[in-house]
Protein backbone atom coordinates (compact mmCIF):
# COMPACT_ATOMS: atom_id res chain seq x y z
CA UNK A 1 0.00 0.00 0.00
CA UNK A 2 1.43 3.36 -0.97
CA UNK A 3 0.37 6.30 1.15
CA UNK A 4 0.87 9.98 0.43
CA UNK A 5 3.88 11.21 2.33
CA UNK A 6 4.41 14.93 2.80
CA UNK A 7 7.69 16.66 3.58
CA UNK A 8 7.16 19.99 5.33
CA UNK A 9 9.04 22.85 3.68
CA UNK A 10 9.60 25.72 6.10
CA UNK A 11 12.82 26.98 4.59
CA UNK A 12 15.22 25.04 6.80
CA UNK A 13 17.59 22.57 5.22
CA UNK A 14 17.95 19.89 2.69
CA UNK A 15 14.46 18.67 1.86
CA UNK A 16 15.38 17.34 -1.50
CA UNK A 17 17.66 14.66 -0.09
CA UNK A 18 14.78 13.40 2.08
CA UNK A 19 12.51 13.38 -0.97
CA UNK A 20 15.13 11.51 -3.00
CA UNK A 21 15.70 9.07 -0.13
CA UNK A 22 12.03 8.09 -0.12
CA UNK A 23 12.21 7.83 -3.91
CA UNK A 24 15.17 5.47 -3.75
CA UNK A 25 13.35 3.42 -1.09
CA UNK A 26 10.48 3.06 -3.56
CA UNK A 27 8.04 5.70 -2.33
CA UNK A 28 6.99 9.05 -3.65
CA UNK A 29 7.11 11.87 -1.13
CA UNK A 30 5.92 15.40 -1.86
CA UNK A 31 7.42 18.61 -0.56
CA UNK A 32 4.82 21.08 0.68
CA UNK A 33 4.93 24.53 2.26
CA UNK A 34 1.15 24.93 2.37
CA UNK A 35 -0.40 24.75 5.82
CA UNK A 36 -3.83 23.96 4.37
CA UNK A 37 -2.42 21.00 2.45
CA UNK A 38 -0.92 19.12 5.42
CA UNK A 39 -4.14 17.31 6.32
CA UNK A 40 -4.22 15.72 2.85
CA UNK A 41 -1.16 13.59 3.59
CA UNK A 42 -1.25 10.13 5.15
CA UNK A 43 2.06 10.72 6.91
CA UNK A 44 4.32 13.73 7.38
CA UNK A 45 8.04 14.35 7.71
CA UNK A 46 9.48 17.38 9.47
CA UNK A 47 13.13 17.66 8.40
CA UNK A 48 15.43 20.53 9.25
CA UNK A 49 18.97 21.76 9.61
CA UNK A 50 19.96 24.98 11.34
CA UNK A 51 19.16 26.89 14.49
CA UNK A 52 16.23 25.93 16.73
CA UNK A 53 15.00 29.50 17.30
CA UNK A 54 14.96 30.37 13.60
CA UNK A 55 13.11 27.19 12.82
CA UNK A 56 10.39 27.82 15.42
CA UNK A 57 10.00 31.40 14.24
CA UNK A 58 9.49 30.21 10.70
CA UNK A 59 6.95 27.57 11.74
CA UNK A 60 5.05 30.19 13.76
CA UNK A 61 5.15 32.78 10.98
CA UNK A 62 3.67 30.24 8.58
CA UNK A 63 1.11 28.98 11.08
CA UNK A 64 2.77 25.62 10.61
CA UNK A 65 3.28 25.03 14.35
CA UNK A 66 -0.45 24.83 14.97
CA UNK A 67 -1.01 22.78 11.81
CA UNK A 68 1.60 20.22 12.92
CA UNK A 69 -0.04 19.84 16.34
CA UNK A 70 -3.47 19.44 14.72
CA UNK A 71 -2.04 16.86 12.37
CA UNK A 72 -0.52 14.86 15.22
CA UNK A 73 -3.91 14.94 16.97
CA UNK A 74 -5.42 13.05 14.04
CA UNK A 75 -3.25 10.07 14.96
CA UNK A 76 -1.38 9.96 11.66
CA UNK A 77 2.35 9.32 11.64
CA UNK A 78 4.75 12.23 11.95
CA UNK A 79 8.52 11.83 11.63
CA UNK A 80 11.03 14.45 12.74
CA UNK A 81 14.57 14.28 11.40
CA UNK A 82 17.52 16.01 13.11
CA UNK A 83 16.35 19.54 14.00
CA UNK A 84 12.83 18.36 13.10
CA UNK A 85 12.97 15.89 16.00
CA UNK A 86 14.36 18.51 18.37
CA UNK A 87 11.45 20.85 17.54
CA UNK A 88 9.05 18.29 19.05
CA UNK A 89 10.46 18.95 22.53
CA UNK A 90 9.28 21.54 25.04
CA UNK A 91 12.38 23.70 25.38
CA UNK A 92 15.75 24.19 23.69
CA UNK A 93 18.81 25.85 25.17
CA UNK A 94 20.33 26.73 21.79
CA UNK A 95 21.13 30.49 21.89
CA UNK A 96 19.19 31.20 25.08
CA UNK A 97 15.96 29.50 25.96
CA UNK A 98 13.55 28.69 23.13
CA UNK A 99 10.09 27.20 23.27
CA UNK A 100 9.46 24.21 20.98
CA UNK A 101 6.31 22.42 19.81
CA UNK A 102 6.00 20.64 23.16
CA UNK A 103 4.83 17.31 21.74
CA UNK A 104 7.57 15.50 23.66
CA UNK A 105 8.12 16.79 27.22
CA UNK A 106 11.84 17.43 27.54
CA UNK A 107 14.80 19.64 26.82
CA UNK A 108 17.25 20.14 23.96
CA UNK A 109 20.76 20.62 25.37
CA UNK A 110 24.26 21.19 24.05
CA UNK A 111 26.61 18.22 23.74
CA UNK A 112 29.45 18.21 26.29
CA UNK A 113 32.66 20.20 25.69
CA UNK A 114 35.02 17.26 26.17
CA UNK A 115 34.27 15.96 22.64
CA UNK A 116 34.33 17.56 19.20
CA UNK A 117 31.15 19.49 18.49
CA UNK A 118 29.42 19.29 16.04
CA UNK A 119 29.08 15.55 16.43
CA UNK A 120 29.73 14.83 12.78
CA UNK A 121 29.98 11.40 11.20
CA UNK A 122 28.84 7.81 11.60
CA UNK A 123 28.03 6.54 15.05
CA UNK A 124 26.49 3.34 16.36
CA UNK A 125 22.95 3.25 17.66
CA UNK A 126 21.71 1.01 20.47
CA UNK A 127 18.13 -0.01 19.97
CA UNK A 128 16.46 0.43 23.35
CA UNK A 129 12.93 -0.41 22.26
CA UNK A 130 11.75 -2.46 19.29
CA UNK A 131 9.44 -0.43 17.09
CA UNK A 132 8.39 -0.97 13.45
CA UNK A 133 10.87 1.67 12.27
CA UNK A 134 13.75 -0.57 13.37
CA UNK A 135 12.53 -3.44 11.20
CA UNK A 136 15.53 -4.95 9.41
CA UNK A 137 18.01 -2.86 11.42
CA UNK A 138 20.46 -4.67 13.68
CA UNK A 139 21.40 -3.35 17.09
CA UNK A 140 24.55 -1.16 17.01
CA UNK A 141 24.24 -0.31 13.32
CA UNK A 142 25.84 2.97 12.29
CA UNK A 143 24.04 6.09 11.09
CA UNK A 144 25.16 9.54 9.97
CA UNK A 145 24.91 12.37 12.52
CA UNK A 146 25.51 16.13 12.26
CA UNK A 147 24.41 18.08 15.31
CA UNK A 148 25.59 20.12 18.28
CA UNK A 149 22.49 19.74 20.49
CA UNK A 150 20.68 16.59 21.63
CA UNK A 151 17.22 15.69 22.89
CA UNK A 152 16.70 14.82 26.54
CA UNK A 153 13.09 13.63 26.95
CA UNK A 154 11.76 13.85 30.52
CA UNK A 155 10.28 10.38 30.19
CA UNK A 156 12.61 7.62 28.95
CA UNK A 157 9.58 5.84 27.57
CA UNK A 158 9.95 8.10 24.52
CA UNK A 159 13.41 6.76 23.70
CA UNK A 160 13.71 4.02 21.08
CA UNK A 161 17.47 4.26 20.54
CA UNK A 162 20.56 5.86 22.02
CA UNK A 163 24.00 6.83 20.84
CA UNK A 164 27.14 8.01 22.60
CA UNK A 165 29.20 11.16 21.99
CA UNK A 166 30.69 12.51 25.20
CA UNK A 167 27.56 11.17 26.86
CA UNK A 168 24.75 8.78 26.06
CA UNK A 169 21.76 10.53 24.47
CA UNK A 170 18.43 9.66 22.89
CA UNK A 171 19.01 9.58 19.14
CA UNK A 172 15.69 7.97 18.28
CA UNK A 173 12.28 8.56 19.84
CA UNK A 174 8.80 7.28 19.19
CA UNK A 175 5.47 6.91 20.88
CA UNK A 176 1.97 6.57 19.49
CA UNK A 177 2.27 8.32 16.12
CA UNK A 178 5.22 10.67 16.75
CA UNK A 179 8.70 9.53 15.69
CA UNK A 180 12.10 11.12 15.52
CA UNK A 181 15.70 10.50 14.58
CA UNK A 182 18.63 12.72 15.48
CA UNK A 183 20.69 11.10 12.71
CA UNK A 184 19.92 11.48 9.01
CA UNK A 185 18.30 8.34 7.56
CA UNK A 186 18.44 9.98 4.11
CA UNK A 187 22.24 10.22 4.43
CA UNK A 188 22.80 6.84 6.06
CA UNK A 189 23.03 4.73 2.93
CA UNK A 190 21.22 1.37 2.72
CA UNK A 191 20.21 1.17 6.40
CA UNK A 192 18.92 4.73 6.43
CA UNK A 193 16.82 4.11 3.34
CA UNK A 194 15.43 1.02 5.08
CA UNK A 195 14.19 3.26 7.90
CA UNK A 196 12.49 5.59 5.40
CA UNK A 197 10.89 2.52 3.82
CA UNK A 198 9.74 1.31 7.25
CA UNK A 199 8.17 4.70 7.92
CA UNK A 200 6.48 4.78 4.52
CA UNK A 201 5.05 1.31 5.10
CA UNK A 202 3.61 2.01 8.55
CA UNK A 203 -0.14 2.14 8.45
CA UNK A 204 -1.60 5.59 9.03
CA UNK A 205 -2.80 5.85 12.56
CA UNK A 206 0.29 4.91 14.48
CA UNK A 207 1.17 1.70 16.26
CA UNK A 208 2.73 1.44 19.68
Amino acid sequence: MNYRIGIIDYGMGNLRSVEKGFGKAGFKAEISDRVEELMEFDALVLPGVGAFGNAMNRLRDMGMDKAILDYIDTGRNMLGICLGMQLFLTTSYEHGEQRGLGVIPGKVKRLPDNVKVPHMGWNSVSITREVPLWSGIEDNSMFYFVHSYYCDPDDDAWTTGTSFHGKEFACAVGRNNVWGFQFHPEKSSTLGLRILKNFAEMAPGGTT
Binding site: N14, R16, S17, K20, G21, K24, V49, G50, A51, K116, V117, P118, H119, M120, G121, W122, N123, S124, M142, Y144, V146, H147, F164, H165, H184, E186, K187, S188, S189, T190, G192, L193
Partner: protein, 252 residues
Protein backbone atom coordinates in the same frame (compact mmCIF):
# COMPACT_ATOMS: atom_id res chain seq x y z
CA UNK B 1 31.73 5.40 19.26
CA UNK B 2 32.09 7.89 16.47
CA UNK B 3 33.77 6.18 13.52
CA UNK B 4 36.75 7.58 11.63
CA UNK B 5 35.50 8.49 8.16
CA UNK B 6 36.99 7.16 4.93
CA UNK B 7 36.41 9.70 2.17
CA UNK B 8 37.19 9.08 -1.49
CA UNK B 9 37.85 12.34 -3.29
CA UNK B 10 36.75 12.80 -6.87
CA UNK B 11 38.49 15.58 -8.76
CA UNK B 12 36.15 16.66 -11.53
CA UNK B 13 36.73 18.65 -14.65
CA UNK B 14 33.92 19.27 -17.12
CA UNK B 15 31.83 16.75 -15.17
CA UNK B 16 34.39 13.94 -15.57
CA UNK B 17 36.58 12.53 -12.81
CA UNK B 18 40.27 13.20 -13.02
CA UNK B 19 43.11 12.98 -10.55
CA UNK B 20 46.15 15.14 -10.86
CA UNK B 21 49.62 14.17 -9.77
CA UNK B 22 50.92 17.27 -8.06
CA UNK B 23 48.02 18.96 -9.86
CA UNK B 24 49.62 18.64 -13.32
CA UNK B 25 49.18 15.29 -15.08
CA UNK B 26 45.52 14.45 -15.37
CA UNK B 27 44.00 11.05 -16.07
CA UNK B 28 40.37 10.32 -16.79
CA UNK B 29 38.91 7.98 -14.20
CA UNK B 30 35.23 7.92 -15.02
CA UNK B 31 31.78 9.37 -14.62
CA UNK B 32 31.42 11.10 -11.24
CA UNK B 33 27.84 10.02 -10.50
CA UNK B 34 28.56 6.40 -11.39
CA UNK B 35 31.75 6.37 -9.37
CA UNK B 36 30.01 8.06 -6.42
CA UNK B 37 27.15 5.53 -6.39
CA UNK B 38 29.74 2.76 -6.53
CA UNK B 39 31.52 4.21 -3.50
CA UNK B 40 28.22 4.49 -1.59
CA UNK B 41 27.53 0.79 -2.26
CA UNK B 42 31.09 -0.13 -1.29
CA UNK B 43 30.78 1.54 2.10
CA UNK B 44 32.49 4.93 1.71
CA UNK B 45 31.43 7.20 4.59
CA UNK B 46 31.31 10.44 2.67
CA UNK B 47 32.42 11.84 -0.69
CA UNK B 48 34.21 14.98 -1.77
CA UNK B 49 33.96 16.39 -5.28
CA UNK B 50 36.58 18.96 -6.16
CA UNK B 51 35.90 20.95 -9.27
CA UNK B 52 39.33 21.70 -10.67
CA UNK B 53 38.01 23.51 -13.71
CA UNK B 54 37.32 26.49 -11.46
CA UNK B 55 36.28 28.78 -14.26
CA UNK B 56 33.13 30.82 -14.07
CA UNK B 57 31.44 29.37 -17.14
CA UNK B 58 31.59 26.02 -15.36
CA UNK B 59 29.24 27.17 -12.61
CA UNK B 60 26.07 25.57 -13.97
CA UNK B 61 27.88 22.31 -14.76
CA UNK B 62 28.93 21.78 -11.16
CA UNK B 63 25.51 22.76 -9.77
CA UNK B 64 23.92 20.30 -12.15
CA UNK B 65 26.40 17.65 -11.02
CA UNK B 66 25.55 18.34 -7.35
CA UNK B 67 21.92 17.59 -8.21
CA UNK B 68 22.63 14.43 -10.20
CA UNK B 69 24.81 13.00 -7.42
CA UNK B 70 21.90 13.34 -4.98
CA UNK B 71 19.72 11.10 -7.15
CA UNK B 72 22.06 8.16 -6.69
CA UNK B 73 24.08 8.79 -3.55
CA UNK B 74 22.74 8.48 -0.01
CA UNK B 75 25.79 9.38 1.99
CA UNK B 76 26.92 12.97 2.65
CA UNK B 77 28.86 14.74 -0.08
CA UNK B 78 30.84 17.93 -0.26
CA UNK B 79 31.42 20.08 -3.34
CA UNK B 80 34.47 22.30 -3.58
CA UNK B 81 36.61 24.17 -6.07
CA UNK B 82 36.29 27.76 -7.14
CA UNK B 83 33.41 28.57 -4.77
CA UNK B 84 33.48 32.28 -4.00
CA UNK B 85 30.02 33.68 -3.30
CA UNK B 86 27.06 33.15 -0.99
CA UNK B 87 24.88 32.65 -4.07
CA UNK B 88 27.05 29.80 -5.30
CA UNK B 89 26.98 28.18 -1.86
CA UNK B 90 23.21 28.54 -1.69
CA UNK B 91 22.76 27.04 -5.18
CA UNK B 92 25.00 24.04 -4.46
CA UNK B 93 23.25 23.29 -1.16
CA UNK B 94 19.86 23.71 -2.79
CA UNK B 95 20.92 21.31 -5.55
CA UNK B 96 21.58 18.68 -2.90
CA UNK B 97 25.17 19.04 -1.68
CA UNK B 98 25.46 18.51 2.09
CA UNK B 99 28.51 20.71 2.44
CA UNK B 100 30.62 23.05 0.38
CA UNK B 101 34.32 23.61 0.78
CA UNK B 102 35.79 27.07 0.42
CA UNK B 103 39.49 27.60 -0.18
CA UNK B 104 40.95 30.61 -2.01
CA UNK B 105 37.83 32.72 -1.49
CA UNK B 106 38.06 32.23 2.28
CA UNK B 107 41.63 33.56 2.28
CA UNK B 108 40.69 36.53 0.11
CA UNK B 109 37.51 37.25 2.03
CA UNK B 110 37.32 35.64 5.49
CA UNK B 111 33.88 37.20 5.98
CA UNK B 112 32.55 34.68 3.47
CA UNK B 113 33.16 31.94 6.06
CA UNK B 114 31.32 33.87 8.77
CA UNK B 115 28.43 34.92 6.54
CA UNK B 116 27.93 31.48 5.01
CA UNK B 117 28.11 29.76 8.40
CA UNK B 118 25.55 32.17 9.83
CA UNK B 119 23.27 31.81 6.85
CA UNK B 120 23.47 28.09 6.14
CA UNK B 121 24.86 26.64 9.37
CA UNK B 122 28.42 25.71 10.33
CA UNK B 123 27.77 22.05 9.58
CA UNK B 124 27.78 22.69 5.84
CA UNK B 125 30.79 25.02 5.63
CA UNK B 126 34.11 23.24 5.18
CA UNK B 127 37.23 25.34 4.86
CA UNK B 128 39.81 23.66 2.63
CA UNK B 129 43.37 24.57 3.57
CA UNK B 130 46.24 23.77 1.23
CA UNK B 131 49.45 23.83 3.24
CA UNK B 132 53.12 23.53 2.47
CA UNK B 133 56.11 23.21 4.81
CA UNK B 134 58.21 26.36 5.19
CA UNK B 135 61.97 26.03 4.89
CA UNK B 136 62.36 27.72 8.24
CA UNK B 137 59.71 25.61 9.97
CA UNK B 138 55.98 25.84 10.23
CA UNK B 139 53.49 25.59 7.38
CA UNK B 140 52.15 28.15 4.94
CA UNK B 141 48.69 28.38 3.37
CA UNK B 142 48.64 28.27 -0.44
CA UNK B 143 45.74 29.29 -2.67
CA UNK B 144 44.71 28.88 -6.31
CA UNK B 145 45.15 25.11 -6.32
CA UNK B 146 48.47 25.26 -4.53
CA UNK B 147 50.14 27.82 -6.79
CA UNK B 148 50.02 31.00 -4.72
CA UNK B 149 51.63 31.44 -1.30
CA UNK B 150 49.36 33.48 0.95
CA UNK B 151 51.75 34.38 3.74
CA UNK B 152 49.30 32.89 6.25
CA UNK B 153 50.38 30.31 8.79
CA UNK B 154 48.36 27.07 8.48
CA UNK B 155 47.70 26.61 12.21
CA UNK B 156 46.79 30.27 12.76
CA UNK B 157 44.49 30.21 9.76
CA UNK B 158 42.78 27.03 10.99
CA UNK B 159 42.16 28.69 14.37
CA UNK B 160 40.78 31.77 12.67
CA UNK B 161 38.30 29.95 10.41
CA UNK B 162 37.10 27.89 13.37
CA UNK B 163 36.26 31.17 15.13
CA UNK B 164 34.57 32.46 11.98
CA UNK B 165 32.22 29.49 12.06
CA UNK B 166 33.70 26.80 9.81
CA UNK B 167 32.27 23.39 10.68
CA UNK B 168 35.21 21.35 9.46
CA UNK B 169 38.71 21.68 8.01
CA UNK B 170 39.91 19.77 4.96
CA UNK B 171 43.68 19.96 5.24
CA UNK B 172 45.71 19.07 2.14
CA UNK B 173 49.48 18.88 2.03
CA UNK B 174 50.75 20.43 -1.19
CA UNK B 175 54.09 18.74 -0.59
CA UNK B 176 52.48 15.32 -0.44
CA UNK B 177 49.48 15.58 -2.79
CA UNK B 178 49.86 13.05 -5.61
CA UNK B 179 53.15 11.66 -4.28
CA UNK B 180 51.67 8.60 -2.52
CA UNK B 181 54.35 8.73 0.18
CA UNK B 182 51.95 9.33 3.05
CA UNK B 183 50.12 12.24 4.69
CA UNK B 184 52.00 15.16 6.21
CA UNK B 185 51.77 13.95 9.81
CA UNK B 186 53.37 16.97 11.57
CA UNK B 187 51.17 19.50 9.77
CA UNK B 188 48.00 17.47 10.33
CA UNK B 189 48.80 16.94 14.00
CA UNK B 190 49.58 20.62 14.50
CA UNK B 191 46.15 21.59 13.15
CA UNK B 192 44.27 18.85 15.02
CA UNK B 193 45.91 19.90 18.28
CA UNK B 194 45.01 23.55 17.74
CA UNK B 195 41.27 23.36 16.98
CA UNK B 196 38.22 21.46 18.15
CA UNK B 197 36.23 21.11 14.92
CA UNK B 198 36.69 17.97 12.80
CA UNK B 199 39.75 17.71 10.52
CA UNK B 200 39.97 15.71 7.30
CA UNK B 201 43.56 14.71 6.44
CA UNK B 202 44.34 14.88 2.73
CA UNK B 203 47.23 14.57 0.30
CA UNK B 204 49.74 11.77 -0.04
CA UNK B 205 47.88 8.53 0.66
CA UNK B 206 49.51 5.67 -1.21
CA UNK B 207 48.97 2.68 1.08
CA UNK B 208 46.51 1.56 3.75
CA UNK B 209 49.30 1.98 6.26
CA UNK B 210 49.27 5.71 5.45
CA UNK B 211 45.58 5.96 6.38
CA UNK B 212 46.11 4.12 9.67
CA UNK B 213 49.17 6.21 10.49
CA UNK B 214 47.35 9.51 9.93
CA UNK B 215 44.48 8.43 12.20
CA UNK B 216 46.75 7.03 14.90
CA UNK B 217 49.32 9.82 14.96
CA UNK B 218 47.35 13.03 14.37
CA UNK B 219 43.89 12.80 15.92
CA UNK B 220 42.21 13.56 12.58
CA UNK B 221 38.54 12.62 12.18
CA UNK B 222 38.63 11.51 8.58
CA UNK B 223 41.09 10.53 5.88
CA UNK B 224 40.65 11.51 2.28
CA UNK B 225 42.23 9.68 -0.64
CA UNK B 226 41.76 9.41 -4.37
CA UNK B 227 44.04 7.24 -6.44
CA UNK B 228 44.26 4.27 -4.06
CA UNK B 229 40.50 3.89 -4.37
CA UNK B 230 39.87 4.97 -7.96
CA UNK B 231 42.16 2.42 -9.50
CA UNK B 232 40.74 -0.26 -7.23
CA UNK B 233 44.08 -1.04 -5.65
CA UNK B 234 42.11 -1.09 -2.45
CA UNK B 235 38.39 -1.60 -2.01
CA UNK B 236 36.68 0.45 0.69
CA UNK B 237 35.56 -2.66 2.59
CA UNK B 238 39.09 -4.07 2.65
CA UNK B 239 40.44 -0.71 3.75
CA UNK B 240 38.05 -0.66 6.67
CA UNK B 241 38.85 -4.24 7.64
CA UNK B 242 42.51 -3.25 7.71
CA UNK B 243 41.78 -0.25 9.94
CA UNK B 244 39.55 -2.31 12.21
CA UNK B 245 42.46 -4.72 12.58
CA UNK B 246 44.40 -1.75 13.96
CA UNK B 247 41.64 -1.14 16.51
CA UNK B 248 40.43 1.95 14.69
CA UNK B 249 36.67 2.50 14.90
CA UNK B 250 35.17 2.33 11.40
CA UNK B 251 31.76 1.68 9.88
CA UNK B 252 31.82 -1.80 8.32
Amino acid sequence: MLAKRIIPCLDVKNARVVKGVNFIDLQDAGDPVELAAYYDREGADELVFLDITASHENRDTIIELAGRVGDEVFIPYTIGGGIGTLEMIRDLLAAGADKVSINTAAVNNPDLVRESAEKFGSQCIVVAIDGKARRDGGFEVYTHGGRTPSGLDVVEWARKVEKLGAGEIMLTSMDRDGTRIGYDIPMTKAVCDAISIPVIASGGAGTLEHLAEAIELTGCDAVLAASIFHYKEHAIAGTKQFLRGRNIEVRL
